[in-house]
Amino acid sequence: MKVPGLAGRVSAQPIKDQALEARQFGSRALTAFLLLAAAVVLLALRYFYLQVVSYEEFATRSVNNQVRVVPAPPNRGLIYDRRGRPVAENRPAYRLELVPEKVGDLEETIAALGRIVELPPDVLETFQAERKRYRDFDSVPLKFNLTETEVARFAVDRHRYNGIEVVPYLARHYPYGELLTHVLGYVGRLDADDLQRVDSGNYRGTTHIGKDGIERYYEDQLHGTSGVEKIETNAQGRTLQVLGREAPVHGDDLILSLDMQVQQAAWEALGDRPGAVVAIDPNDGSVLALVSKPAFDANLFVHGISGEAYRAILDAPGRPLYNRALLGGYEPGSTMKPYIGLAGLELGAITVDHRVFSNGRFFLPGVSKPFRDWKKGGHGWVNIYGAIEQSVNTYFYQLALNLGIDRMHDYLAQFGFGARSGLDLLGENAGVLPSRDWKRGHLGQPWYPGETVIAGIGQGFNVATPVQLANAVAVLANGGTLFEPRLLYARKPAGDEQARRVAAPVAQQVPISDRANWDIIREGMHRVVHGERGTARAIRPDPPLQIAGKSGTSQVAAQAEDEDMDENTASHLRHHALFVAYAPFERPSIAVAAVVEHGGGGSRNAAPVARAVIEAWLGQAQ
């Protein structure tokens, strides 16, 4: 068979029989006409069915249709701290809504509105973007949070604006402002991306959605279930009366485990320095305080932040948008020593009588550069108690070599290092707990003994977040239980009298070979604060309170031989100060990690922050 080409004339083909083709066409055309006549009959029958057979039904529905069904959005659940102080509330506010189909010339109308209501370009941009997810006969929000003057001015001119209305609604408000931003996050205008992750049917009347923090993590509980309202409308579509409603189910109220007094104390103790504080109740894994500084006022985001205000936040020193408590990766430094000491005791690498002589410099065979103690000339002979109390590097250099990096890794992993804690906020940093496998997988390089040595004092590849640091010290305090820490303490569904406790799940139990080993480490940490030579003896509290703690310094820049960091060092090169602690020593009820960025030494700068937090918690009637 000849393959047909694109040429207009194909001479090789048999001669066309024009008369036959005309006849063929005629019969086909007739067939087609009969077929479509049949189709018209079918269509006509359908219309006959709708308009004659079902006339009664549809006529009734048409009359009822002056009743319009509109979604009734649920009220967002409120958020409280553990003592019932409201930390996220709903305030009555007014917004301007517009039905594009009814206003006629949209641009003209908006220009006219701009003379009585402030409409900055940002607002108009958002409006144009948002419009797309509404139908033309739907009411689209134009501007939120109108001032009283704007409402009054619009009321005077209302008759001139067909299809535009001022609508009351509940606006989110955060009474504590920046103090809780990194915990609560905030709600913002619902956009197309948000609709991808929620049931859009349930959000038909909703304008705001949790964008970050608790507001985002517990969006489903806080939002509730949308209802519908039957509204009688007049010919212009204006509401005459509400005929009935299927009530929305309001969102759950959430009670957080945070204590605002502790939160406030942590915030103030940090002062103007960037840093983070996390406090956890070691008995149940509930978070008592979570501070990251600097922060910003979340209320700015609720009504749609202006480009100018947003740039101001972006340009502010210290990156206020960055949640240090959750995302900040710090070298844990000496705060790791108690766990490494415990690993040594539990795994049998050392005993309580094991002693090491510190002369200030520790050498690896074949390496000329020494690993140093923080004190020139060293600390002399020390056992495990002294090694923790005075933070003796040499002791832990030797111990790390005895344990080896992989045993150390496996033991420390049980305290939550190197893995997300599972806290109920999104975007947590997993940190790094190095091992041979980790280094091969991430850097494609073999492990060197020198790296084991510095891992013994929490340096090198080690990275931990303040949340991880606090959660790990809570394990020491409670004797071996690693929780997935929780900010949510209880949940009160709409209509329930009582809030329901939400317990933090247990992530794992650290196996214990001898309880006495744990007591040795705890005593070492006790001496850090209460001992003669304790590195943090300056924060020793008034009796009877007793605190166990451990300081740490997170290196920012490599330190040259014999060069000391002091107040004269440029602040951005100064080390981060770390302190972990728990109290009371005998029956712990709070575990804290404090990080002061570029604060210098941990004992001097971070320890007082930890103490302030502990005292704020224990100072209250429990």
């Binding site: 063929q24 066409f25 055309a29 479509l36 249709n65 519908v228």
Partner: protein, 363 residues
């Protein structure tokens, strides 16, 4: 004196019955549009201007003899395909890339294809012996398949189906054997479920909503439910012009564009609907009659296909408004408010007029 116009240009030789049918239909359409737009004389005026532009296109095309059109056909088709490819890369428009923005005007290249595809099919088949052999059928399917695919991808399933239908009609009219027709139809029916997997989310939603509109009465089911209420409540005689409560109360979305038939049904009742259907049937019948008068294969196939495609518009739109078919964006031909479709349709009828005027030509 030299003639200013080409030698083939003469005084209009228009088919009076067809022209009359079109004018009556469009006049009826303007009356309904006045009501559907909420008594907006402005809307009616703008629609009238478009109809005027379409009639000018009709007059011009009616003077171009079919054989001239035939010579230009491959170029027009190629241009159309290239413009479609351009929308792929430079398309504008709300969430779909149907429009091409040329600065001065924005238009949908898919409109050109509504004419270019049947033209190209007729051009391809006219020198061949009919009914076509296997290879010709395969190549012809390629001619219609390429633009249909490009349009469906925009995504504009409604127009893609119309374009494909216009091509298939050419094949049908070329005398394709019945066993082949049934075979291909069977194949299409077997492949149809696979479409589900290439459909976009909103398209699937429309199918689901079509199957059970009450499942989402506030959302996508709204159109179908409200439209059916409007049609049904119209009854036998209708509520009267400007008295449709469904449409006055703005319950019908797109009531002056894709759903204008709902307004007509509500206000003029079953009688109005039957009158409308009769007008369409008359126009299509007249179109087929003109096609059968043509002496040339090209004109015959083209005229037939244009007439039948015109009818498909009605079927799809009337089916959608009455809840028989899912919601696809197909306007009620010559009546729905909106730009390019009226001009394209009238241009198509211009070609029909030309085939009528030059029916005795043999070239």
């Amino acid at each position: 004196m030299k003639r200013l116009l080409p030698s083939w240009f003469g005084w209009p030789q228009l088919d009076a019955p067809l022209l009359l049918g079109l004018l009556v239909l469009m006049a009826f359409g303007l009356v309904v549009l006045y009501s559907a737009s909420g008594a907006s004389m402005d809307t009616v005026y703008r629609q009238a201007v478009r109809i005027g532009a379409g009639l000018v296109a009709l007059l011009i095309l009616s003077q171009v003899p079919p054989h001239i059109l035939r010579i230009w056909t491959p170029w027009i088709y190629a241009l159309g395909v290239m413009l479609l490819l351009a929308t792929w890369f430079f398309g504008t428009g709300r969430s779909t890339s149907r429009w091409l923005d040329l600065g001065v005007i924005r238009f949908q290249p898919s409109e050109i294809m509504k004419l270019a595809v049947p033209m190209m099919m007729a051009w391809y088949l006219h020198p061949r012996r009919l009914p076509p052999d296997w290879a010709s059928i395969a190549f012809a399917l390629l001619i219609l398949g390429l633009p249909a695919f490009l349009i469906a991808r925009q995504p504009d399933l409604g127009t893609a189906l119309l374009v494909a239908a216009s091509g298939i009609f050419v094949l049908f009219l070329s005398g394709l054997q019945w066993r082949l027709i049934f075979g291909l139809a069977g194949l299409a029916a077997a492949v149809a479920p696979a479409l589900w997997f290439v459909m976009r989310e909103y398209q699937r939603q429309r199918v689901l909503t079509f199957l059970d509109p009450e499942s989402d009465p506030l959302g996508s089911g709204w159109n179908i439910i409200q439209s059916k209420i409007a049609v049904g409540s119209g009854g036998l005689l209708g509520k009267g012009w400007l008295n449709g409560t469904q449409s006055r109360l703005e319950f019908i979305p797109e009531r002056h564009t894709d759903f204008i038939l709902a307004v007509l049904s509500e206000e003029f009742g079953l009688l109005g609907v039957l009158l409308l259907f009769s007008l369409y049937l008359f126009i299509v019948g007249r179109g087929l009659y003109i096609a059968s008068l043509a002496r040339m294969t090209y004109g015959r196939l083209l005229a037939g296909s244009l007439s039948l495609t015109f009818f498909v518009y009605l079927m799809v739109n009337a089916g959608m408004v009455s809840g028989l078919l899912p919601v696809v964006g197909v306007p009620l031909p010559l009546i729905s408010y909106g730009g390019t479709s009226i001009v394209t349709l009238l241009a198509g009828f211009g070609i029909l007029m030309s085939i009528y005027g030059h029916r005795n030509f043999i070239r």
